[in-house]
């Protein structure tokens, strides 16, 4: 090959390095526009207050008792929203402007801009987590297991949300209008996040909904998070969460990469 005379700094390390450089760009943008993080703060605050004070008395007798039950569910839901809403939309905006053309004319891995965007959005997960645990603590939520288990709950939730966020990356690449990307991502959230026993035990629901809850992978995540935060069986749900996350990553990350190459 004629390549030898040039300086090929590519390969796997090149991809990781380029992705990190691009993630740094994404984080600088977020720092400059803190408003972009508004929904990462807004979502956990609104839903936690809504569920606890609106439904708490009816479902569990008191808001305080209900908080223990609903908190893990809100954690999962808020993380899913953060993952699904953020990445696809910012990516879509980048592709529409010319900047991805420039990236693609550079000798960097084709997927580096995608990986960079997704990595930069990890900051959003952090903001959501801090907000949620902070407000939860103020309202009276207490971790009933140990810090290690709580960390595992967070890790599983982030893992699953990250895996699922590739679905929104795919939407962000395929759909032309940013607003529609947001709508599609939002519509995906409802059956996934609310079609679980996050707000109330499944045996209070109609049969068809129970059937969906049984096949909805998010149910496993909620169960695992609940077990790890307030106690209960964990092993089966945690294993299922990890397997589902891997499966989602294996399907949607390559699809998103493929669509990105095709679209641009």
């Amino acid at each position: 090959m004629t390549d030898t005379a040039l300086t090929p700094r590519t390969g796997r390390w090149g991809l990781a390095r380029h992705s990190l450089v691009l993630a740094g760009r994404g984080m600088t943008k977020t720092r400059r526009n803190p408003g972009l993080l508004a929904d990462a703060v807004f979502v956990p605050v609104v839903f936690l207050l809504l569920f606890v004070y609106l439904f708490g008395g009816a479902v569990a007798g008191s808001p305080r008792a209900y908080l223990q039950y609903v908190f893990p569910g809100v954690l999962v839901m808020a993380m899913l929203m953060t993952g699904l809403l953020a990445t696809g939309v910012s990516l879509n905006a980048d592709i529409k402007k010319g900047i991805f053309d420039r990236f693609r004319s550079l000798p960097i891995g084709r997927s580096a801009p995608l990986l960079g965007s997704v990595t930069a959005d990890l900051v959003r997960y952090l903001v959501t987590l801090v907000t949620l645990f902070g407000l939860g603590y103020l309202l009276g939520f207490r971790i009933q297991t140990d810090p290690l288990a709580a960390a595992a709950a967070v890790a599983l939730t982030v893992l699953f949300s990250f895996a699922l966020s590739w679905l929104s990356v795919l939407a962000g690449v395929l759909i032309k209008e940013p607003v529609i990307v947001q709508t599609v991502s939002f519509m995906a959230i409802f059956p996934l996040a609310f079609g679980t026993d996050m707000v109330a035990p499944a045996d209070t629901m109609p049969g068809w909904l129970q059937a969906w809850i049984n096949v909805n992978p998010v149910s496993h995540v909620v169960e695992a998070a609940r077990g790890l935060l307030i106690g209960g069986p964990v092993a089966g749900a945690a294993t299922a969460t990890v397997l589902w996350s891997i499966a989602l990553l294996l399907v949607f990350a390559p699809l998103a990469g493929y669509a990105y190459r095709w679209r641009t």
Binding site: P8, K97, D101, F103, A112
Partner: protein, 323 residues
Amino acid sequence: MTYAIQAEGLVKRYGTTTALGGLDLTARPGTVLGVLGPNGAGKTTAIRVLTTLLRPDQGRAFVAGLDVVRNAASVRRLIGLTGQYASLDEDLTGAENLTLIGRLLGLRAAAAKARARDLLDRFALAEAADRRVSTYSGGMRRRLDLAASLVGNPSVVFLDEPTTGLDPGRREDVWRMIRTITADGGTVLLTTQYLEEADALADQITVIDHGRAIANGSPAELKQLTGGQTIVVRPADPGRLDEVRAILGRVAGRRPEPATGGTLTVPVTGDAALTEVVRQLAAARIRVAELSLRLPSLDEVFVGLTGHGTTPEPASELAGAPA
């Protein structure tokens, strides 16, 4: 010899639309190739194929002898691209934009920063280096965009309509910057809708229409083909129009067009005509309010080459052209 840029029979179709219909292009190393054509002629598609962003349906293209499809990764190490839409990050500063590209090109942080400062100096952006691009004017963005395509010291630079939308003053700034690229030995392909721009910058011009090259030559050859230039004179004293008409008639060897608004125009060939007109006006002590040498518009070029104007847009300025 090896061309810096070579395209052979490039074809690209989108559904039933043919963006490129067998395009041939060549540019020698160290020269500027101007690709001249109206909107929709395939200029941007050609650039996207040559910069590896788009695979052609048929035909082959080489940059520095490397196949843009089979050796795309190697081609990307040699090229710089400034697209038609500013490929900049509005939320970052000018310096950050250039540093980002340097880092992606494999420079270490300090080297990337130094390179960014160099380029910002060279493109007269040093004072705006630490301002966000969203605060830049159109001309500053274009200059930063140009600088961004030069971070990696590319040997071949592609500029897609680098001055579209700029006012004439700003346009000349950008021209000056573009000229410095070939001074360093680089090759430039630039697309434009203005013969004036191609004439100011290019060593060789390829005129394209409907995705094919319809003419190719040096600016001088092309001006020959398209009927050369037009001298425009408006005497300060309208009472002396007849004397001016006589001078223009003598120099051009043909009668000037009828005067409109006290202005006389006459087509000329060759560079000496304007000097001669100036000399004779001075000798006759005629003061002028306006005196210029104008190149044919893109429409006039197309009329000269094909007998019809630019077909996709029968714009209003075509009114005076033969149907």
